[in-house]
Symmetry: C2
Subunit: 575 residues, 2 copies
């Protein structure tokens, strides 16, 4: 490699993607001229940690920009430790692709300078999404940058904030609601326009578990209520939604984010359908000399093969490295290329994503990857689903954690589409493993072939994903159909095959179920109604699934079982 | 499907593999005649849970054979709930492949009967491995069946057992040592013939972490000491090993297991090199009418493509289902086959394994998959390794757990070979994800493309596996070499680039390191010795790796860094 001598690299944005690209380029191109601009002084911080500053888990904001050896990652740090020239308080305002110059303005003084580049990296991230009726002000704020979280934290600490309305039940909205309620006991109302919380992660059924957990911790959840207006009124906030008015000490707007690419769009760089910058696999924009990465670009979804907007810190970090590699590859001269193995492509690529994400909701771990049933239907995929209730460790091991899972797959082909995992148990592990199957176009049978570590403190001999794979194959191959956990009896005779104790602890409810314990059912076949379809019900699913199959073999038609059992059904409470 | 009418299936062994096969066959073949024999009355129990009965985590042995709804899985249970005829106290003693009959003897009465079969399933499991000098007796026992663990537990509860020698530092030996010492405060000496504990899981370096954890909990660990003799002497046990004699209240033999296949081998079924039954992908033995599964068969290793013996409960359960499927496929007549989709193969297969396993060693989670460096060398693979020290969650999140990892990969090709993970942090998740890459012949670059859920309570934005992938690629592509955590300075100048506080807390030791904090090193290049190779040292690895790369770019040769840093090195204590 040439060392990059004579190459000028300009990076706009000193957060995950931009700094990772710059640092990687610096390592690969010790001689290159690299400069990073950012509008803000507080750079290189873990934005995903802001809810944990709000919650009190972190004592101050600097924790979010400290290295593991307690150095503060400011401009001076990057100069001394990373050999990077980072200039804070400078905002990019214009871009001329023809002359390869970017205009950078001082935030304070307003003075502008023209900066030439050989390669430009746009890593400007995202800005909060707003709605027409929302007026930001003293009591109505977003939750996107430290300056917005600091006054909230102070108000909580001093007791000035005792109530809040959170506008938006997505990822950040739920995290903020938890942070406000958990440590500070703030009275929180959470408003979501769609019919459920976390609509981008979860189907309505799994989302009920999250709503129930919030309700158990006294968070008032209202779904299906689009916010019409929000204002500061006196010392507090007033929010109008679904015809109701909610008054609280503060309103926090968490409606998701939009890519922040004004100057780049104005320069004529091509945008994708999502409104974010379109990039190729090398993360190059429509202009060969301009890369982009992080929350300002769109990516390709592995399952739909369509572009999509997935603003996640985990992707931004990985993209930064890819851009750094490709800056170096651009700089490499022919002489250097000869040093590489003949078959090595000097360029790195950023592949399609499956969109894994997770969050903690009080005592629940919530994680999902791929497509929900809703999302699959939205893109025209014909999907089926299976649900299951499991322990995350051997069921006899002390204190097993419950885990409620839903696998979505393509009908017919058995191609895996997505996993939703919710529960006090180890949800994230299963999603991470499942995601790795999605990345290789895995099918239902691949679930059965997964090899998990097994010891009683960590798992059962068969993992929940094995169980769900079997349930789905039993459905596809043998017509043993598990219906979703919140189904109504709907004219079916309900046969509860649990023990008397189990049935008493969590009764099916109305209309009443016929109770025949699983070990008696084979002998009491004659008692089972023949005039109606059957719904077999047990505690977690396996007993009812096995007996549903047996009944099908006895020439009964129209037999289904309650997937995930009464355990999953009752977990959603009245939520 | 024919329902299996007229087909007689005989299963020998009522543990995981045998019962799973029988239950699956019953579901698929409601009309088949299925009978299961087992020598013991106590069947279908989670044998992997015995150490947790010993430890006191479980209050009684029945917990290991209870369903999740508190039903005891005995012969009556299988008859009523699973529709299976399970006959206990009957041992298979002979097999005639030509006439398809197996001789079954009553354990008590000795009366023998000949049982004809259309299909036989051998699932007889394994027996403890013993050595010539070991005499089992009152005070010298194995730890393989409930009858052996019960008196141990009683002796601990009553205070009769205050000291023990555990013979064998493999999986079960370490679990037993922990169980004895943790709750009961038993004085434990753990003897292992090889140079390290857990030799089948871990290389010597990672194994030191386990030895140190045991030492911290007052378990005396002796490695490299083959046991010459063990006897009951009076009320206690005497063990001779490595020229020393160890006296204790009990000696527990945990030297691993051997397949238990006497009658099957005598009948002429083909054995593999490991001494276990050879089976094909359908789990069929050399006789078409005989299947085998569980701890009595050998499997193919995914990485070596060679047969190997991997007796794990997780595999036995999955194999049972495959056998059940294939029993049904054998039974299916032509008519039934027409009901299947045209492209469906009615047979299931059990693929190659990677051998994931895990155990809990006091506060350490220990997990591994694939090949260690030692195992790779043993099969002639040219392997390199990278080590890393990480937090299992965002480093600023409260109470992050440390995680020490080692990735082994094939030099040149970058093919992934194995992962070893040890630490209080979430080790198992990383191993489970890594195993899924091994199952598809993953390479180093695939580590970088892994998509993990990210939120601060669950991970850093980049997972440890991303970090290790980068470290390995930096080694392969740029010659940035991290040396193993327990390397000696060996003539190199040691440059410690940590802060003064860090260096004071865990000093390099002798010969003394030159201390230049990372942020000063670029400016103080002239102070670095030019007459010797360099070893750059930091707390966890990233700083020293980055500066090693920078020094290489300054035309320094012979620069390496300490992989995993002083954190990993010090974690092994003086162990």
């Amino acid at each position: 490699m040439s060392g990059g001598s004579g190459m000028r690299i300009v990076v706009i944005g000193a957060s995950a993607a931009g700094l990772k690209a710059a640092a990687r380029a610096r390592r690969l191109l010790p001689q290159a001229d690299i400069v990073v601009f950012d509008a803000r002084e507080f750079i290189s911080y873990g934005a995903c940690g802001l809810p944990f500053y709000l919650s009190g888990d972190l004592d101050n904001l600097d924790r979010l920009r400290e290295t593991q050896w307690q150095a503060i990652r400011d401009a001076e740090f990057f100069a001394r430790v990373k050999g990077l020239d980072v200039r804070c308080g400078r905002r990019a305002t214009a871009l001329d692709l023809a002359t390869r110059t970017v205009t950078v303005e001082s935030v304070d003084a307003g003075a502008a300078e023209s900066v030439g580049y050989d390669r430009l990296v746009i890593a400007t991230g995202a800005a909060p999404r707003l709605l027409g009726g929302i007026t930001l002000g003293d009591a109505v704020t977003c939750f996107h940058v430290p300056e917005e979280s600091q006054p909230l934290r102070r108000g909580l600490e001093t007791g000035q904030i005792g109530s809040a309305v959170v506008i938006g039940g997505g990822f950040v909205g739920v995290e903020v609601a938890v942070a406000l309620a958990d440590m500070w006991g703030c009275a929180v109302t959470l408003l979501e326009a769609e019919d459920r919380l976390l609509p981008h992660l979860l189907d309505a059924d799994m989302s009920r578990l999250v709503a129930a957990e919030l309700a158990r911790h006294d968070v008032v959840v209202k779904t299906g209520v689009p916010v019409a207006a929000a204002h500061t009124v006196g010392e507090g906030a007033e929010v109008t939604a679904g015809g109701e008015t909610f008054a609280a000490d503060r309103a926090v707007v968490a409606l998701g984010v939009v890519p922040q690419i004004g100057f780049a769009a104005a320069a004529g760089l091509v945008l994708g359908a999502s409104g974010a910058l379109a990039v190729d696999e090398q993360l190059r924009t429509s202009d060969h000399a301009v890369f982009a990465a992080g929350d300002c670009v769109e990516v390709v979804h592995r399952l739909t093969r369509q572009p999509c907007y997935v603003p996640l810190g985990s992707l931004a970090n990985r993209q930064g490295r890819v851009v750094g590699d490709n800056l170096a590859a651009d700089a490499a001269d022919a002489e250097a290329a000869q040093d590489r193995p003949a078959d090595a492509d000097p360029y790195s690529s950023f592949g399609a994503v499956v969109g894994s994400s997770c969050l903690k909701v009080f005592d629940l771990n919530v994680a999902a990857t791929g497509l929900s049933e809703t999302a699959a239907a939205h893109v025209g995929l014909s999907a089926d689903a299976v649900w299951g209730t499991f322990h995350d460790v051997a069921h006899y091991y002390p204190e097993p954690g419950a885990l409620y899972l839903k696998v979505v797959y393509e009908r017919g082909s058995g191609r895996l589409l997505g996993l939703q995992a919710v529960g006090p148990g180890e949800a994230v592990k299963r999603v991470d493993v499942f995601a790795s199957l999605l990345q290789r176009d895995g099918k239902l049978r691949d679930l059965l072939d997964l090899e998990f570590c097994y010891a009683p403190p960590y798992n059962a001999a068969l993992d929940p994903l094995h169980g769900l794979g079997c349930a789905a194959l039993n459905r596809e191959e043998a017509g043993v159909i598990g219906v979703g956990p919140f189904v109504a009896a709907d004219g079916r005779a309900v046969i509860d095959v649990r023990s008397a104790d189990e049935a008493a602890a969590r009764p099916w409810g109305s209309p009443e179920a016929l109770h025949i314990p699983s070990e008696q059912l084979r002998a009491r076949l004659s008692e089972i109604p023949t005039d109606r379809p059957l719904l077999i019900v047990c505690e977690k699913g396996p007993r009812s699934a096995e007996l549903a199959r047996w009944l099908l073999a006895q020439e009964r038609r129209d037999v289904v079982y309650l997937a995930g059992g009464m355990a999953l059904r009752s977990q959603a409470g009245s939520g």
